[in-house]
């Protein structure tokens, strides 16, 4: 069975200030098939999808739809050409009904005045029938499960007559059963001739659902073929490449005594299960421990629990053999823990405050005597850290929001280091910063470890975790599913461990399906 090419990009290049996100990419999107797109964070997948969805424009290169050259200068343009996108973060209004969401900004009206709810409801029901879902058009979207919300998003695209549907990590928040339903919907859409672009990090899932695969690495397409005969090692090889990027050389140093230990950490989540389930681990002084896993594996929740963010979590944390008593963040900081949060904007910085005020926020009690803040000493300390971390700033008094991502990250690192921690918890320390800044952040990590700091760093970047860690722990579904030393860690093994919970539930779901058929 051949699939016609519905959309193609030729020579697509997208340049952002400082980085080239997409280099001379040739991409074919086949109709009535699932076109899988895979690559590491920052490889250019989202850039390519944004270009197709009209959010971003190519710097050079052309897009053809049905062999006609088109200019997609806005999302409206893309919608007119039948392109729909379901973003990883759903763009729905939880306070409005399913029907209202589906017809947002394209309300069915009588004489252009009042909204024709009856008609909207009917069409919504028809869409839901097509997607084999029994969702009442009047339900509030906020009351739906995440999987159902995703269906609503898909229905929204279909309501706009989407012929091309882009799904960005659609399964990251879904349970195994919901994934099966989504896959059935995808099959259905394929039969209707819809061209689907499917982005995911879960390689087994890709192999199962995909018909064609395109692998991206550093903005370059490194492999594109039909899915027949593709296996995980092939994908990994194309994702990572043969030659590893330069990571700073290990500074050989002996590890010290155990500096941090977590015992039986449980963090209940809202749906009755656990985000972190029975995690225990230990860390030596001077050691870099990488925690690898997919998004939602519970890695972030684990480090945040260690930091005392969730008072309702269970488990014990020890720093230098002493157990943490109070669950409050400030006491954890006093014990010697410090965190570099995953989301710089939300959790790391107070954007409105100056660079100086941000850097000293966690260590003001060191700079104050009897409640009096020594501003002269504060300025001097900030200056020292700015030099040491090589942060490029015009003035420490400027708002931190004026800095680039890399420099902002260094301010967050400075803030953590100022508390004189024994253990540094770094959550995706290289997210959203350019390659040069990445290298510097890694250099700083190495140097700190050599000085005897224990570092736990969380990442979903395989290369990073392999290149930087002295030891690697893999998490999946809130549990530790693998532990590797430098010697035993291989990419394939890490990926396998990171999918443990998922592949089991997959297998079960497939089994259940088969039984139904029988």
């Amino acid at each position: 069975m051949t699939h016609p090419i519905g959309l193609k990009i030729r020579g697509g290049t997208k340049v952002y200030p400082g980085t080239v996100a997409l280099k001379n990419a040739d991409f074919d999107l086949r109709m009535g098939a699932v076109n899988v797109l895979v690559g590491e964070n920052g490889a250019g997948k989202s850039t390519m999808m944004k270009v197709i969805a009209g959010v971003e424009q190519l710097t050079s290169g052309t897009i053809y739809i049905d062999d006609q050259e088109v200019q997609l200068t806005s999302t409206e343009d893309a919608v007119r050409h039948g392109i729909g996108i379901v973003f990883q973060e759903l763009n729905l209004f939880p306070n409005m009904s399913v029907a209202d969401n589906i017809f947002i900004n394209r309300e069915k009206t009588r004489f252009g005045v009042d909204i024709d709810r009856v008609k909207q409801r009917e069409e919504t029901r028809a869409l839901m029938r097509r997607l084999e879902h029994d969702i009442d058009p009047d339900t509030l979207v906020g009351d739906l499960k995440v999987g159902q919300q995703q269906i609503v998003e898909i229905a929204k695209s279909l309501a706009q007559n989407a012929r091309i549907l882009i799904l960005d990590e659609p399964t990251s928040a879904l349970s195994a059963a919901e994934v099966e339903i989504l896959f059935r919907v995808i099959d259905e859409l394929k039969r209707d001739g819809v061209g689907i672009v499917y982005i995911s990090h879960r390689l087994e899932e890709l192999i199962r659902v995909g018909d064609y695969i395109t692998v991206l690495r550093d903005g370059v397409i490194t492999g594109a073929r039909s899915m027949q005969g593709v296996d995980i090692p092939w994908i990994v090889l194309n994702m990572i490449g043969d030659a590893s990027k330069d990571f700073p050389k290990t500074i050989d140093h002996p590890f010290g005594a155990e500096v941090f230990r977590a015992e039986d950490v449980y963090l209940p989540n809202t749906s009755g299960g656990y985000s972190v389930e029975g995690v225990s681990l230990s860390l030596q002084a001077g050691e870099i421990l990488g925690i690898y896993g997919l998004m939602g594996a519970g890695r972030t929740e684990f480090v945040e629990t260690a930091m005392g963010r969730y008072p309702h979590a269970r488990g014990t944390f020890y720093v230098d053999g002493k157990p943490a008593k109070s669950p409050h963040v400030s006491d954890r900081i006093r014990m010697g823990l410090a965190i570099i949060p995953e989301d710089r904007k939300q959790d790391g910085l107070v954007q409105i405050l100056s660079i100086r005020e941000n850097m000293t926020l966690s260590s003001l009690d060191r700079l104050a005597t009897a409640g009096h803040l020594d501003v002269v000493r504060e300025k001097k300390t900030v200056g020292d850290y700015v030099r040491q971390l090589m942060i490029k700033i015009a003035s420490a008094e400027n708002a931190v929001s004026s800095l680039s991502g890399g420099n902002q990250q260094k301010v967050v690192i400075g803030k953590a280091l100022m508390t004189k921690p024994k253990v540094l918890l770094m959550d995706e320390p290289s997210r959203g910063i350019d390659i040069g800044a990445k290298a510097e952040v890694f250099r700083v990590m190495r140097q700190l470890a050599a000085e005897g700091l224990g570092i736990i760093f969380v990442t979903s970047d395989l290369e990073e975790v392999m290149g930087l860690s002295d030891r690697i722990i893999v998490m999946s579904n809130g549990k530790v599913t693998g532990e590797f030393t430098k010697g035993t860690a291989t990419e394939t093994a890490l990926i396998a461990a990171s999918a443990v919970g998922h592949s089991v539930s997959h297998a079960q779901a497939i089994q259940a399906n088969k039984e139904q058929v029988l």
């Binding site: 104050a368 501003v375 400027n398």
Partner: protein, 353 residues
């Protein structure tokens, strides 16, 4: 379009413009003062200045407390009612003391009365903070609730009547109560000295203590502040209790000045306090504001209304003018933010980043 034309302006001009915008409240104060000096007779006489500063002080106290609350990302609508209730408590204590029943009652001297009233004000602030932090009520709603409760309690305390003749009793040492509102030290009214003390204290807290920095951080980004080890709950307790403290002071001063306590005193004072804070450059979104700016803001509002009265402008027009001034202040504030961000970005760009 605007961005294009503006970016061609050399950064020297931007810096001068920024300085001008930053000093805008002060410039406004000078302008209104000069204006009334010319058009209102006796405006600059010493007697008038004393009366005017007494008026301003009342609003300035509340505005200082309000500034901390707003910087922390909240709002305190209850201060006006706290003024009323605290005035009634003060009046009751001066007149009756605490009745233990059986014909016995304890009488207090002025200092004791003031301390007890202040405790009442701080307690209401603590209730606000409790509702906001522990019960997760939005600050607007929580303080709207206490606004009504405190006002109702003030009315109930006297069945809506006034406590008259708060002259105190020399036997109990409460005759000095009148001195708070009427007395002066070195020719300057006591309430102004109190304002100076509270103003300096608040400015010191804001600029030179970790607590002050935490207030800004909580208002700027509560999540990040929490993850940086800031005890967000404690910070919120502080700001609402401090606001209650300021309300109590104003309650004491007004009842002393009038030698009477009326339960409707302080009605809508909270709005004037918010206006002064906003006029002084405090951002309603939280994280930004200065005590000095707020005090100048309070003076602009005070000078404006007293000067207009002296010029014989109708009070209806005064209200309109006050509203226009506040709107203008916020519009200019937005402009300042844009210029400030641009200057910072230009400096950063000059580094070749």
């Amino acid at each position: 379009m605007t961005a294009n034309t503006v970016s061609t302006v050399p950064s020297g001009n931007s810096n001068a413009l920024l300085l001008l915008l930053k000093a805008r409240t002060f410039i406004a104060l000078i302008l209104v003062t000069v204006f009334f000096t010319i058009f209102a007779p006796n405006f600059l006489s010493a007697a008038n200045l004393v009366i005017m500063s007494k008026h301003v002080a009342l609003n300035a106290f509340l505005a200082i407390g309000m500034t901390f609350v707003i910087i922390s990302g909240g709002i305190d609508l209850s201060v006006g009612s706290i003024v009323g209730l605290c005035g009634m408590v003060a009046g009751y204590l001066v007149l009756h003391g605490i009745d233990l029943g059986l014909g016995w009652s304890i009488q207090f001297n002025t200092l004791e009365i003031c301390l007890m009233v202040i405790v009442v004000g701080i307690f209401i602030g603590a209730i606000n903070a409790f509702l906001i932090t522990k019960l997760n009520v939005a600050p607007f709603i929580a303080t709207l609730g206490t606004l009504y409760v405190a006002r109702g309690a003030a009315m109930l305390s006297s069945d809506g009547r006034t406590f008259p003749n708060l002259n105190g009793n020399p036997e109990y040492g409460s005759d000095s109560f009148r001195w708070i509102g009427a007395g002066d030290v070195l020719g300057i009214p006591v309430s102004i000295w109190m304002l100076v003390a509270v103003g300096v204290l608040a400015a010191y807290i804001a600029m030179r203590t970790p607590l002050g920095r935490f207030i800004y951080a909580v208002g700027g980004n509560e999540r990040a502040a929490g993850l940086s080890g800031v005890k967000v709950t404690q910070v919120k307790y502080f700001v609402y209790m401090f606001s209650g403290f300021c309300g109590a002071l104003v309650g004491i001063i007004i009842s002393s000045q009038l030698v009477a306590a009326h339960p409707a005193t302080g009605d809508t004072f909270e709005l004037n306090a918010i206006a002064a804070a906003v006029l002084g450059g405090t951002s309603m979104a939280g994280g930004r504001g200065k005590i000095g700016g707020t005090i100048i803001g309070a003076f602009v509002i005070g000078v404006l209304s007293d000067g207009l009265v002296m010029m014989g402008v109708s009070s209806f027009w005064q209200t309109v003018i006050k509203g226009l001034v506040i709107i203008a202040a916020v519009v200019i504030d937005q402009a300042q933010q844009r210029v400030q961000a641009r200057v910072a970005l230009q400096q950063q760009a000059a580094l070749g980043q």
